[in-house]
Assembly symmetry: C2
Homo-oligomer: 366 residues x 2
């Protein structure tokens, strides 16, 4: 395998967020501030809105605001549900467990469907669980559990849940999936979906993008403040932004969504899919084990039996300037996580596979 063409002076970020950012995004951000109540901003934001609608495949509003992905999902829950509302949260990793903690904080009537890390709930299981809950108001679905690399079949889950109740409010964490795997906000009848700049949107961290259905808007609680989506939806409907807009980060995200549109989503989806297949095949060929259901393309979780994952991570970093993530919580130290999204157009994944081959060979020889 030839040594891939990657600039060795910079580190290769293959963590499942944050991701390396293309030069054209950094360049787009190098632009003087414009006022968020100016005609120039309105015209700029209309184009950004349009690009975001393409990414989510929706005709609905996509809110844009400062925050982390977790802030986004938590704010979705705060915006839609009140103490005592019944909600269902399938739990299959660290992030879905975080939404459970938030449901407790909000005083919701919480129902969970728990799966061991690496597994995932099926649409049928979700439907059966939902049928047992009287007056179920909402469900929080994590499209890709970034802690385990596992995806649910989001389309099928929503479809089967809607057989239980058409009025169910379906919130989806699409933080590690929007723009890189098939996602159809309108066709799948989602109500609220949260994406984050530093994951699949090829940008630095700091902003979130939230598609909201009319049903979601109609169910927003009456509070209005900066940690509630109601005020953003109200103001956006009038072409306004309720607080000073993070314009610089929007510049970068607009450049990225235009890139995705120009390339076209199906092409991007296929590239990510082929990248995931290639990485998984090579890990297995080298004697590694894939961990978890591996039913999504966002990232791969793996280990090599007999080789310490922390040591492997450190060698990738020190000898090859390649950063992958360790696993979290109960999986900490056991497995590694490598992302298939981000700016990976210059042989970064190939460089990772090359380094892995070298290191595994060396470590096995020891």
């Amino acid at each position: 395998m030839p040594v891939p063409m990657v600039d060795s002076t910079s580190r290769i970020l293959l963590t499942p967020g944050p991701v390396a950012v293309p030069d054209f995004v950094l360049e787009a951000m190098r632009h003087q501030v414009i006022h968020h109540r100016s005609a120039e901003f309105r015209s700029f934001f209309a184009e950004l809105q349009n690009g975001l609608q393409y990414v989510f495949q929706t005709q609905n509003q996509v809110l844009a605001l400062p925050g982390s992905g977790s802030f986004g999902v938590e704010t979705g829950m705060r915006s839609l549900f009140q103490p005592g509302d019944s909600i269902l949260i399938p739990v299959y990793g660290k992030f879905s467990a975080r939404w459970v903690a938030m449901a407790r904080t909000l005083g919701l009537d919480l129902h969970t469907l728990e799966k061991p890390w690496g597994e995932f709930p099926t649409a049928v299981e979700l439907k059966e669980k939902a049928q047992t809950i009287p007056h179920l108001k909402g469900v929080i679905l994590t499209h890709c559990e970034t802690s385990t690399g596992v995806n649910i079949d989001l389309e099928d889950c929503v479809s089967k849940l809607r057989q239980v109740s058409q009025e169910l409010l379906v919130v989806a964490d699409v933080i590690s999936t929007a723009g890189i795997v098939p996602l159809y906000f309108d066709a799948w009848k989602l109500d609220l979906a949260v994406a984050a700049s530093q994951k699949t949107l090829l940008n630095p961290a700091g902003t979130i993008y939230v598609a909201v259905s009319d049903r979601a808007k109609g169910n927003f609680t009456s509070e209005r403040h900066a940690a509630h989506f109601g005020i953003y939806a109200d103001e956006l409907a009038r072409g306004n932004f309720p607080y000073t807009a993070p314009v610089q980060l929007f510049y970068g995200v607009k450049a990225a969504v235009e890139f995705l549109r120009q390339k076209s989503l199906p092409v991007v989806w296929n590239e990510v899919h082929q990248r995931a297949r290639k990485v998984r095949a090579e890990i297995v060929r080298l004697g590694g084990e894939l961990v978890g259901a591996c039913n999504g393309d966002s990232l791969t979780v793996f280990h090599f039996p007999g080789i310490n994952s922390d040591v492997l991570k450190q060698l990738l970093s020190e000898e090859y300037q390649i950063e992958v993530s360790g696993a979290q919580d109960g999986w900490k130290g056991k497995y590694l996580r490598v992302a298939h999204f981000g700016w990976l157009e210059n042989g970064e994944t190939e460089a990772f596979l090359h380094a892995l081959q070298q290191l595994i060979t060396d470590l096995k020889d020891e």
Copy 2:
């Protein structure tokens, strides 16, 4: 008056946030993403923390996270107070009124001290009001009411309030003041103070910086989520960031706080003060009226009797590419607001005064 040296191809932003950003900030942001759990980030963040402590004049932790200024103050209230807690909010403009709305949302036992727009509460009035409230737990002070340009004497207010109760939790909105007018977080015995990147910190919008005292930390409610400061304080104490950090915006803010440190705060404070004096003297000389108490240096609110403020704003924008802000709510259409903070090192304020002189002369001749 000679025509000042300002690049006429770009607009001059004199709005009281967002502000024009210096090139060295945009350049600092043009830097590849680093992972927020890397040694490089920890070392970078330690330096940023140090610079922020200088700006707030504190040895306490300064939290750094995505959000708008309003999100910051509201999150401060959510982090410190529980339903039923007695708090006092002096109201003297649009932003202090926003904190009142948040107190209602949180179910607090709300007490207000209301002043007409343009006026401000004195420390003695605040103390006398506080003495009438049993079990008063906290107070929310707006250092500069950006809607009216009015400041309170923050040092004296806190001092007199502490005579009522040493244990009072004092939250300060320093969004339009931190770094440009005297502010001593530790010496003045503040508990929580919120600054925002796009105001006095010479940066694009999107991040907030929050100094927190040990008393504040000891009083954080037990919730832990992305719209609560507890998790940021807990993790920062361990050298961690709880969610993916908005590294790009931090790069810019670090460059700005280093600039402030190099220039030294007293020099900056004096520059802003002289700028405010000069603008006010010139407005009065041209026949304009200063509106509100004009007891702070952050911005000036003014109008010219007989001249429509909206027309003046439009002419400044269209003929001179100078953006000032209109007033808000009840003052809308009546007054204009011009900021004395932001990147104003290239004759921007002088260009504004020159344009104003021309326009006022022309409009009076009509």
